[in-house]
Subunit: 135 residues, 2 copies
Amino acid sequence: MDEPLVLHEDDLPVERWDDPSRGSVVWRTLFSGDRTATSGMTVGIAELPPGEPDPGPAHRHAPPEVYYLLAGEGVMEIDGAPTPVRAGSAVFIPGLAEHRLVNTGTTTLRLLYAFGIDSFADVTYLFPGEPVAGS
Amino acid sequence: MDEPLVLHEDDLPVERWDDPSRGSVVWRTLFSGDRTATSGMTVGIAELPPGEPDPGPAHRHAPPEVYYLLAGEGVMEIDGAPTPVRAGSAVFIPGLAEHRLVNTGTTTLRLLYAFGIDSFADVTYLFPGEPVAGS
C-alpha cells in the first residue's frame, strides 16, 4: 500500500557500486519500492566527481530512464552519440539504449534519475563484459 | 518508438492552466508522449511564485507522482497533513491522494514533477467543484 512520503536527500545514505570497475558514481535513493512504501516510481540523486579518471563504462537496462541535471556540466552519450549537458538539461534514455554520462567540468556533476517502475531492485544493469544475472 | 532525447528547460515554452481558479502555477514539459517520442515517463519543471494570494486548490489524479524541490521553500499538504519542504526535499504522492504545495517563502519555488506514465494527456486532474471530464 502506497503511503505519502516527504524526505530530504541530506538524510539518506550514500550508495555506490560494489564493483569499482563500474565507475565512481555515488547516489542516494529517494523512492524505491524495496526501501519505501511506494510504487510506480523509482527516483534518486546521483553524483559524479570531477576529474574522474574512469567515468565507468556505458551500460543498458530495460526500463526507460530520465535524467535531470542539477549542477555541473558533462557529456551525455546515448548509443554512441555525445551531447553536452549542464544544469537544467534533461535526458530521455530509451529502454536498452547504451548510455553513459561523463563529467567534463571542474565541479561535481549532480543529477536526478527516475524510472517509472516500482523498485530499483527491478532494474537489471547490463555492463559490457559482465555476465547477466540469471543467464 | 522511443528515441533518445536531450533538451534544456530554458528552450521550452511556459504553460499554465486555462482556468485561473486552479492557481498561478506555471510549468515546462520536459517529456510527455503527446509532445516527445518518449514513453513510460512524464516529467516537467513547475514554478510557484512567492507571495501568491491563491495557491490553488488541492487536487487529485490517479497515477502516483513524485516532486523534487529545486529551489525555494514551502509546505506540502497530502491528504490534509502539512510538511515543510525546501530545496533537496522529495515527495511521493500516492495515486488519488489529495495534495497541494504552497510557497511560503519569499522566492520562486521550483520543483521537478514526474509520473511513471506515457503522457501528461493521460493525467485527469480532479479539482474540487469541477466536473470530471467524461463523467
